[in-house]
C-alpha cells in the first residue's frame, strides 16, 4: 500500500505527504497566528508609543472600562443559565417524541441557525419591543396601561442572547441524549423510580457533557456579542465587543482595542479550560466519561 502510494510522488517520500496535505490549512492558520501576534504587540504599545503595559493598566484601572468586562461576563453567565433552562427542555422534548416530529424540530433549530442573525434580533424587537406585539396585546386586553419595558435593558440583551445562541445548547444536549441507552430509564422506572427521579438521577447526569459543551459555546458567543447589545440594549448596555469596535474603528486607538481584545481572548481560554476541567472532574465524580466532540 505504502509502496503504491509513492507512484505519482516519485520524488516525494510518502512520509512527507501528510505534511504537504496540511500546508494550505496551516498557511491559513499561520496568518491568524501572525495576526494574533501583532495584536498582542500592538497591545503593549504604551500611551507615549514606548513599550509598556499602559493599555492594560488603563483598562483595569478605569471603572468604566473594567465595567464593560464585568457586565459582559455577568450577561454571558445569565444567557448561559437561561439557555440551559429553556434549551434543555427542548432537547428532552425532541429526543423523546416521535421520529418524524424530532426531525421537524431539528430542521427548525437548524433553520434558526441558518437564518441571518441581524434579522433574528430584529424580529425580537417586533415581538417584545415597546411598540411590539406583546405590548400591543397587553394594552388591548387592558392588562397594562403603558407599555412594559422589556428591551433596551440588560434583560432585553439576555433574552436576545438566549434566543440567538440557545439553539447551540439544544443541538449540543440533544446530540448527547441520542447516545444514551434508552433501557437505563426503562430499567429505573421498572424498578419503581418515578419520572422525576429518572430525570434527575439518570437523564440529567448523563446529558451533562452536552450541557457543558453547549455552555462553552453559549458563553463564548455571548461574551463576544456585538449586535445583540447594540440593537436590544438601546445604548444602555455596552459590552466588550462594542468597546473594542468603537476604540478600533471610531477612535482608531488600536493599542487600547488590542489590549481589550487580548483580555477577552484570555477570558475565553480560561472559560474553555475551567469548564472542561470541571466536566472531567464531574465525570470522574459521577462515573461518566465525558463525550469528546
Amino acid at each position: 500500500m505504502t509502496a503504491s502510494l509513492t507512484v505519482p510522488f516519485t520524488r516525494v517520500s510518502p512520509r512527507l505527504i501528510p505534511y504537504l496535505l496540511s500546508i494550505p490549512a496551516l498557511g491559513l492558520l499561520s496568518i491568524l497566528a501572525i495576526a494574533l501576534a501583532s495584536l498582542f504587540a500592538a497591545s503593549f504599545r504604551g500611551d507615549s508609543g514606548a513599550l509598556g503595559v499602559d493599555q492594560y493598566r488603563n483598562i483595569i484601572g478605569d471603572p468604566t472600562y473594567r465595567g464593560y468586562f464585568l457586565k459582559s461576563i455577568k450577561i454571558a453567565a445569565y444567557a448561559c443559565v437561561g439557555s440551559i433552562i429553556f434549551g434543555c427542555p427542548i432537547a428532552y422534548y425532541m429526543e423523546f417524541t416521535s421520529r418524524s416530529r424530532r426531525r421537524l424540530i431539528l430542521m427548525f433549530i437548524v433553520l434558526l441557525l441558518f437564518s441571518d442573525y441581524v434579522m433574528r434580533v430584529y424580529s425580537l424587537i417586533l415581538m417584545i419591543g415597546n411598540n411590539g406585539i406583546i405590548n400591543r396585546a397587553l394594552l388591548w386586553l387592558g392588562l397594562v396601561h403603558e407599555p412594559v419595558h422589556i428591551i433596551y435593558s440588560e434583560l432585553g440583551v439576555v433574552i436576545g442572547l438566549i434566543l440567538g445562541n440557545g439553539p447551540f445548547m439544544i443541538l449540543s444536549v440533544s446530540s448527547i441524549l441520542g447516545r444514551i441507552d434508552p433501557h437505563l430509564g426503562q430499567a429505573a422506572s421498572l424498578l419503581g423510580a418515578g419520572k422525576w427521579a429518572v430525570f434527575f438521577r439518570i437523564l440529567l447526569p448523563l446529558s451533562a457533557p452536552g450541557i457543558v459543551g453547549g455552555s462553552i459555546i453559549v458563553l463564548l458567543l455571548s461574551l463576544n456579542a456585538y449586535l445583540t447589545p447594540e440593537l436590544l440594549g438601546g445604548g444602555f448596555v455596552r459590552m466588550i465587543a462594542s468597546f473594542v469596535y468603537d476604540e478600533a474603528i471610531s477612535s482608531w486607538n488600536l493599542p487600547l482595542a488590542s489590549a481589550a481584545a487580548a483580555i477577552l481572548l484570555v477570558i475565553a481560554c480560561i472559560i474553555v479550560v475551567t469548564i472542561n476541567g470541571f466536566a472531567d472532574w464531574l465525570g470522574r465524580r459521577i462515573g461518566i466519561i465525558p463525550v469528546k466532540r
Binding site: Y19, A25, G87, Y93, Y117, Y245
Partner: protein, 262 residues
C-alpha cells in the same frame, strides 16, 4: 424509547413553550412583511408585495447580497481546498505532529470573533496588502475551516477505505483513486460542508465589521438599515432570507441528513 414518555410533563411543557417562543418572531415577521402600511403594525391592515419590490430597488441590499455572495463563494473554495486536504492528512496518515494539526484547525472556534476581526485588522492594515477583499476572504476562510474539517473528517472516517484500496490494487494511481473513488463517495459530506461554509460566511457580522472598508456585506447593510429606516422592507428581506435558509436546511437534510448536524 418505547412505551410511556419518560420525561416529566412539566419539562415537556417548558420545551414545547420554548419552541413556540423561538418560532413566533419568525411567524410575525413573515406576516408583517405582507402589510400595506409603513408602520410595523399587527394585525396587518391589508396584503401587499410592495416591500418585496422595495428590496430590489434598494441598492445597499442588492450590492450587499452580491458582495456577501462573492465573499462566501471565495472563502468556501479556499476553505474546501485547505480543509479537505488537511482532513485527508488527519484521517489517512499517522505522522509526527498530527495531534497538533488536529488541535490547530479547530483553534479558530475558540478565538472570539471580535479578537479575530481586530487581529486581522491590525495585521492587514499594517502590511503592504492593506484591507480589502483578501483580508475578508482570509477571515471568512478561517471562520469556515473548522466546520469543513470536522464534516469531511467524519465523512472520511465513515467511508469504506477498502474501495479506495481496491481501485489502487486494480492499477489506479492513488491520485486517480482519490479523485474517482474517494471524493465521489464523500460527496455528500463535501456538499454539506459547502452549504455550512456558505451559510457561515454569508451571515458573519461580528468579525466582518472590523474589515469592512467601502463595500458592505448584506448583514452589515441590514444592520445599517435597521438603525436609520424603519419600515417593513426589512421584514420582507427577512422573510426571503428565512426562505433561503429553509432551502439550505432541506439541502443539508438531503445530503448529510439533518440528524447528523448535531
Amino acid at each position: 424509547m418505547r412505551g410511556r414518555n419518560p420525561i416529566p410533563a412539566a419539562i415537556r411543557a417548558v420545551g414545547l413553550g420554548a419552541i413556540v417562543a423561538l418560532a413566533l418572531p419568525l411567524v410575525f415577521i413573515t406576516v408583517i412583511s405582507f402589510n400595506t402600511t409603513t408602520s410595523l403594525v399587527f394585525p396587518p391592515s391589508g396584503f401587499s408585495l410592495r416591500w418585496y419590490v422595495n428590496i430590489f430597488s434598494t441598492d445597499q441590499f442588492l450590492d450587499g447580497f452580491y458582495y456577501s455572495g462573492y465573499l462566501a463563494l471565495a472563502s468556501t473554495i479556499v476553505g474546501l481546498v485547505a480543509g479537505t486536504a488537511v482532513a485527508f492528512a488527519i484521517v489517512r496518515y499517522r505522522f509526527i505532529g498530527r495531534n497538533v494539526v488536529n488541535v490547530l484547525v479547530m483553534a479558530p472556534l475558540i478565538v472570539p470573533e471580535v479578537v479575530m476581526g481586530l487581529a486581522l485588522l491590525v495585521w492587514f492594515s499594517s502590511s503592504t496588502m492593506g484591507l480589502g477583499n483578501v483580508a475578508l476572504i482570509t477571515l471568512h476562510a478561517l471562520l469556515v475551516l473548522p466546520y469543513i474539517v470536522r464534516i469531511v473528517v467524519a465523512s472520511l472516517q465513515r467511508m469504506d477505505k477498502n474501495l479506495e484500496d481496491a481501485a489502487t490494487l486494480l492499477g489506479a494511481s492513488p491520485v486517480r483513486a482519490v479523485m474517482w473513488v474517494t471524493l465521489p463517495m464523500i460527496s455528500n459530506g463535501l456538499a454539506a460542508a459547502t452549504v455550512f461554509a456558505l451559510v457561515i460566511s454569508f451571515q458573519d457580522f461580528t468579525a466582518t465589521i472590523f474589515l469592512i472598508t467601502q463595500r458592505q456585506t448584506l448583514p452589515v447593510a441590514i444592520f445599517g438599515y435597521i438603525r436609520t429606516d424603519n419600515d417593513p422592507t426589512i421584514a420582507a428581506l427577512s422573510t426571503l432570507l428565512i426562505g433561503i435558509a429553509g432551502l439550505t436546511v432541506w439541502l443539508i437534510d438531503r445530503t448529510l441528513g439533518v440528524e447528523r448536524v448535531r
